[in-house]
Amino acid sequence: MFKGKGYTGRILRINLSTGKISKEPLPDFVVRNYIGGNGFSVYYLYKELEPGIDPLGSKNKIVIGTGPLTGTLWPSSGRFSIGAKSPLTGFWGEANSGGFFGPELKYAGYDAIIIEGRAKKPVYIEIFNGEVAIKDAKHLWGRNTKEVTLELQKEDKETQVLCIGQGGENLVAYASIMSNLHRAFGRSGQGAVWGSKNLKAIAVRGTGRVDVANFDKFIELSKEAHRKVQEDEAARQMFTYGTNLLVSAKQAIGEFVTRNHSTGVFEGAEKLAAEVLKEKFNGRPRACFGCSNACKEVYTTSHANPWAPDMVTEGPEYEGTMAFGSNCGIDDYDMILYVSDLCNKYGIDQISLGIAISFLMECYEKGLITKKDCDGLELRWGNKEAVVALTHKTAKREGIGDLLAEGVKRASEKLGRGTERYAMHVKGQEVSGQDGRTHRSVALTHAVGARGADHLRSLVTVDQLGYKAAARKRYKDLFKGKSKKEQEVILNELCNPYLENYKAYAVKVTEDIFAIRDALVVCWYTCGWPPIFWIEDFARIMPLATGEEALGDVQELLKIGERQVNVKRAFNIREGLTREDDTLPKRFTEEPMPEGPGKGQVANLKVMLDEYYRLRGWDLETGMIKRKTLKRLNLPEIEKELDKLKKMID
């Protein structure tokens, strides 16, 4: 059992089939090789899930993981991770969010929860420090996430709640799990896994403490870190305006995802600019636990708002603004706010739903489907009523919503008629609000993500937001042994959003480091955007938190990060993944960007993918992990299993 600090040392295991509740010691091995957070999912899901299981069956498991920094003063450390095999992709599934549940779980005395089996009828789990109970959720089933949260807080308002809405109950393949009403574990359909297990919610209240190994130095470094965030100009901008700042930044490089990824320029962008929204909706910042960045914008609608008058809501983030705004040809933020809030209540991922709706709209506009296919809806670009109607229908799986609830991959396969071409997904997960044609590193990021077209596991921002100083520091190996002139060329090419050069290296390094980020767990804001903290900062704080000196070594941390990327890869290989799955919708590789500053650009995925595989030690032809890579990362069990399955290259 791990005896160091930063952890509670306990893992809670709950079997919903048998009702058995047990508390396991946190193994040293897991701390030293996987750290925590998403690392708990990586370790336990690979080890305990049989390949080929039904993601919505009783054999799938849920892992909820906090990290050694959760509940401490280190900035933006309120996040935690949830993992399970994804019902959307059939591959690796994980989601990560902020709020206040993670620290509360740690104060209750647990580093992680593992949930197994399937309850016969709807239940919720109640945790009050050492007391854990599985309770009847009859009164909660069928209700939205806001109602459930408030109901479970009735007796003790300080209770933190994680729950699903009707989306998860109805097994919408991209259902989310929500906390604090507006914090979403959005991607990869984790909410549907909960629904399939009849698990409606977890309510936790903890009154304990989190201790760290070297208290004085930990506090000193944490305070300095908060100061850095508070003094960073870009972070202050985010504090003031929220992540909708990206609307204008992306429009400027031709990457503001519009009309189902058909273009990167939106004529209504000015109406969606962060400054405009702040003014019109009286925006004010709100934070997750321990965060000086406060990226959430609270918006209040006017009395005259036709969709939701006098509504106070949080968000949406840039991604929601994109998904229901530019992506559907809509510049009316009154309506976008309403649909975003609706998704949070139903518990549905805004990115996937927005892309699913825009998929149907494009098919309709192209004449591949008709009104008859769409319950009589006229799915023209910009039809706001249709977007609202499809949101309700999808959550309830009514009519065409039943098809949309499967995600664009399965929906297009069922529809046929050439609609597959407009299904914007990778591995079954809808493509988030970036465009690999005009932000080249993200083409690779989307293609290789273990959970499908995902931006958050390796998003390189230096070629998007022009962070040259950060680029030179972060990807320093590129510049070693080069002349000043050569270095200048490398830097310019690395930061050029329209070139493939050096992107594979940047994506690989970022992915390894973000795996550490997700293990600690800290937010990607202040790491990726703006670029404040990086691996050296993590290496400084980790020994102070845990007392584990090895976790203070950058090389060791990078190895742990790389190990996690490879275990997820092995998980996917075991599920049948090959190089063919690391791909992009043809739009990004064959249809040149039609307009804007990046007009004419397409992504050359192959050249980046080859280079990325080489750097990873994966086989170029099959995408499988080479034996020597598994040996280097000290993964003998995985080597043995993949060998047996004949899914490894010597």
């Binding site: 003063l73 806001k146 009154t207 403490r209 208290f215 965060c291």
Partner: protein, 163 residues
């Protein structure tokens, strides 16, 4: 003149950094019940209100304390608990009209703000200037001015600006 700790809830972002530094400073751990300040969260309206001892001029906590364990610090004017005298009866917890005294069941003692001997940690970490530590006159006048600025219609009347 001693300074006062003044809270502007409209600026609070709800991060709870103030609680973390408070329990860190006084008890070398992270535990909200060992903090003299607490952020009360209202997720339904997306609001957060930091609650902390007001260092009252007529302190109910001091009045009810049966062993005179609560006294006023001469320099900071903070009401400070002398734990050598405190018997842990919780009368102060009951008496405080703000609920600003918390009873911690591990330390078995009431926890309240002592203004960190005149250098409050919470004020230094607050990312949104929701907490300020200033002379009473300066702080309250600033509050007055800000309140008027938040009433644009009234301001227009005063300045004669046409709306």
């Amino acid at each position: 003149m001693p300074k006062i700790l003044i809270v502007d809830a409209s600026k609070c972002v709800g991060c709870r950094d103030c609680e973390l530094v408070c329990s860190a400073k006084h008890y070398q751990t992270f535990k909200s019940s060992l903090s003299g300040i607490a952020t009360i969260k209202f997720d339904e309206i997306s609001r957060d209100v930091p609650m902390v001892c007001q260092q009252c001029e007529k302190p109910a906590c001091q009045a009810v304390c049966p062993v005179n364990a609560i006294s006023r610090d001469e320099e900071t004017a903070a009401l400070v608990i002398n734990y050598d005298l405190c018997i842990g009866c919780k009368a102060c917890v009951s008496a405080c009209p703000f609920g600003a005294i918390h009873f911690d069941d591990e330390e078995k003692r009431p926890i309240k703000c002592d203004l960190c001997d005149g250098d409050p940690e919470c004020v230094k970490i607050c990312p949104s200037e929701a907490l300020k530590y200033e002379e009473a006159d300066k702080a309250t006048m600033a509050k007055r001015r800000e309140s008027i600025e938040h009433l644009p219609e009234l301001l227009k009347l005063i300045t004669g600006e046409k709306g």
